[in-house]
Symmetry: C2
Amino acid sequence: MSDDSVVRPRPEAAVTLRPAAGGRIEGGFWGARQRVNREVTIPLGGERIRESGAFANLELAARGAGGEHRGKVFADSDVYKWLEAVAWERGRADDERLRAAYEEAVELVAAAQRADGYLHTHTQLTGRERYSDLASSHELYCAGHLMQAAVAGSRATGDRRLLEVATRFADHLVKDLPEDALDGHPEIETSLAELYRETGARPYLELATRMVTSRGRERLPLKGHHGPGIRQDRVPLRAATTVEGHAVRAVYLAAGAADVAAETSDRELLAALEGQWREMVATKTYLTGGLGSQWYGEQFGGPHELAPETAYCETCAAIGSVQWSWRMLLATGDPAFADLMERTLYNAVLPGISLGGDRFFYVNALRVRAGANPDDRRAPARGRQDWYGTACCPPNVMRLLSSLGHYLATQDGDGVQLHLYASGTVRAGEVLLEVVTGYPWDGRVEIVVRETPGHPWTLSARIPSWADAAVVTPGPAGPATGAGQGSLTADAEPGTYHRIRRTWRPGDRITLDLGIRPRLTSAVPRLDVARGQVAVERGPLVYCLEQADHPGVVVDDLCVASADLRDGTPIPGLPPEVVPVRARGRAHVHREDDGGFPYRTATAPQEPEHAGPIELTFVPYYAWANRGIGPMTVWAPMH
Amino acid sequence: MSDDSVVRPRPEAAVTLRPAAGGRIEGGFWGARQRVNREVTIPLGGERIRESGAFANLELAARGAGGEHRGKVFADSDVYKWLEAVAWERGRADDERLRAAYEEAVELVAAAQRADGYLHTHTQLTGRERYSDLASSHELYCAGHLMQAAVAGSRATGDRRLLEVATRFADHLVKDLPEDALDGHPEIETSLAELYRETGARPYLELATRMVTSRGRERLPLKGHHGPGIRQDRVPLRAATTVEGHAVRAVYLAAGAADVAAETSDRELLAALEGQWREMVATKTYLTGGLGSQWYGEQFGGPHELAPETAYCETCAAIGSVQWSWRMLLATGDPAFADLMERTLYNAVLPGISLGGDRFFYVNALRVRAGANPDDRRAPARGRQDWYGTACCPPNVMRLLSSLGHYLATQDGDGVQLHLYASGTVRAGEVLLEVVTGYPWDGRVEIVVRETPGHPWTLSARIPSWADAAVVTPGPAGPATGAGQGSLTADAEPGTYHRIRRTWRPGDRITLDLGIRPRLTSAVPRLDVARGQVAVERGPLVYCLEQADHPGVVVDDLCVASADLRDGTPIPGLPPEVVPVRARGRAHVHREDDGGFPYRTATAPQEPEHAGPIELTFVPYYAWANRGIGPMTVWAPMH
């Protein structure tokens, strides 16, 4: 198992934790998702990208004779993200089909590259001057995704051909990119930093640093009605107190800035990023972990502006959030970052792809109302789509799922830290751990030490902040170990790492019981869109009410009548392992005369009238819209 | 007083009511607004439009030699709307300055027109082929505004020069416009209908009819991610059950369709429009009358999707709503249309312009949160602006205020109907009424018959639907009149016309007392964004809480503690006649630890903690943001 981490800080980087050298998911919840990703989504993605013309663009560019560019200006990035997914899959288990697809695409990319290293098919085919419209052209955004794919190829397969393409491009940028050039869509910052990590070429880091630190000075030209904030060009990151503008751009930039801060030991920048992250979590994050409350500009709203039905929550923003949080976790070791990663993976990334792996959401709203207009192709009311004209999200999910094992664990001088729970193995230096769990359906996680050095080290297991009844049982184990490390069960504190230090022996095991059972969740008063309402969660999963489970009433009218929640039996049409949650509820009466002007003179807020009791069925939010499309809500009033 | 109505159905039109021949506002609330409009806004608008390059575009087009077009593709329409306002002002009271400005601009417009009648400076200056991009070019939209200005010029001043320009253009369109051509932005439909009304040229009506009835078949090319609904091209109007897409476009189209339905006696179309209007009022209208809940596409959201802070509520959409409702009122005589007109005028049109008449809102949100990002120039959090790059709203307000007198009253075979209350006079055939009122601050309205024919007729006075304590006192009058028409006070039913039929004599008067006092308003359960909340209204005015009146607390945290509302004393910084409303309130405690993840495990929705009592001050929503900019809300929780 090679060290194929997505993020691999240099030895001198200012980080608290370093990624475990190898994390491998085998079976269980995420194993099933990885299987579907490999067997269905990635092959399908290759086809869709071919149909979109993105490969044809590369072929035309390779011929060097011009021709019509198809798709969006960032079409190249679809190829690169898909290539990155293929590379990680080859690292998981290479096969001839994957190898051939990878090598064919890499040849094409290499052929399309100009002699001086430049590569952007839209610019090459249209003949537009390079770097003449960086606010919109996505030239450097595409370059960044090329670099990430190249790093993945190098780390996962040892094949350095794409890395050579990427470094040629990066060398060109270092040499020829106009001073102070910034891309309207950040992405290249984190990619240049990782390319530096992979190659040791410090000019890449210097270029990334320049881009991160020179941004926020209103240098990018304005477009449309938007101010500079939409492109994170209003306030320098070092001075910013919040995230703003286009959500994907914001979190990609922040991830790159975290890389720069780590590699340049820039503690001031890191502290600024941490403040922005905390403000984002406190005021601009949906319960699902989703980011971006405005369709207009695909951007963050103001603080506490988190209307569920108009949530944008682009799948890509969730992926960028995971990337940013992971880098902050490495830098600080604070479990809050892992908490958000987990919430986001289950409830903001995963909803972006159907259970079958072949249909996608671009926008992940927390509510769809009865009668919602499906006019826009991205409208959740239209249901999952086969693909999108702007196809950023599907291959982004592919590359994340393919590399998910890399995010399970870290190591430091003192031992190994487990952040996410999935059945599989973790390699960290001389340590090899095996994890066996039915998580997230079951809160029991067994951690078995398979290989260990002879000296003492600390095993740290994250206790999620929602796990208010977590216990840790060290054992049944091998031979008795250090003092106080018997087989007594210990309470574990939510939102911390439970740490056990001992001299471990192969076969030692500890068992976590994270106490997964359904619970109600409410929101602080300033979060007015959840006022008077509750949501259901169970373990790391956010649940929702879906029309399919409530015939005869409209989801819009449902409310929760009791805090007594129970696990339900499997639901036809969903995989049998999915645990629904049941509760007593009622429906508002939607009266005939409600058809008039909906505002009435009153002496108090209108008390809804209720019909008789209804059995409510909550299903995991990630699994919604897999049984047709209809009204859905995460939040429901409680009366 | 000539018959200078904005809308003047032909004698054979299928309408229930016809506009009064002359309505004149003198003094009072709207008189003051008209004075500011004439003395400040219209001169300032002329300057701003000149600075924008819109006049320069016309000059370049007149020279016929090409040149750089400045501003948006619809820049011409700014000139036309401003010209329309100037025309109506000349009708109210002509003066040399207005006449000169009008004639100079008309000369310029006439000079810019091509020999065959075509006129669109953007197309002329860029050399783009005519009608080759109607989904975006706004060629016909501009043509429509030209026609409306021309009709205003003809009716208000008798000067027919601009009408000649408009009819040349219309004749060209009738002859040369490609079959089935539709503009992406409806507007020309209502303009062609009115040009028909003014000239009697039936081909104009036929062209309008064709445009209204051929729309909704997905013929316009799609742009961006939007489906055909954004341009009202998804469903034919005759089959539609709701309004959808870009709100301004939707209501402009509906107004034009109402004109077509009236002039072609198309009862089926009228019934469809009425259904759409009622559905809009029931599910897609803000308490202010504002329309459009999505910034993205400036469009209507789904039913009950009416989040206050992300409300778009473009000033132009409110103006279009007034236009549509007025046409529906003429067609049906149903006071519900007048109710919405009044609500919209005070609370959705008027907020679009500052008290001083020199600053504007494009977007009229019902809430601005603490910390809201003013990145977009249209963001309400940025406060009112001097002007906008897309300057559709300011001159639209100008033309509406200048012509507001035309919307006060109607007539039918049986008498005169008063719909809006403003001090002034109404001429309807042989009847001349004088109205004296302190409305909307004071609910007392005196209606004096100044001229009358000798035979009996019915005076109908609208009792607004909010006026649950309205009384009508016939008298003190002249000599005693018909049976049952003594000076006894009678209760009047809200949401109806109170009708008094008698043989009137000059000097007869009746007095309405509409019982204006502050009241609380709530919303139906499906309108979840108002759940647990109340708003304050007083007469036709919607009120709001503004930061300026609540030092030491944040408006976001305020809640209403009592239904006991009282009129307050004048507020420094607002005109002395403005009546604030006071109530007992409290503030949520925004706790230190609210700075973390805002969602908590709970057994019920979180009950906010409150600090001690606070005296709340509500000010009319139209008057907000005239004392600096800060948080504001129309809805507040009640605890």
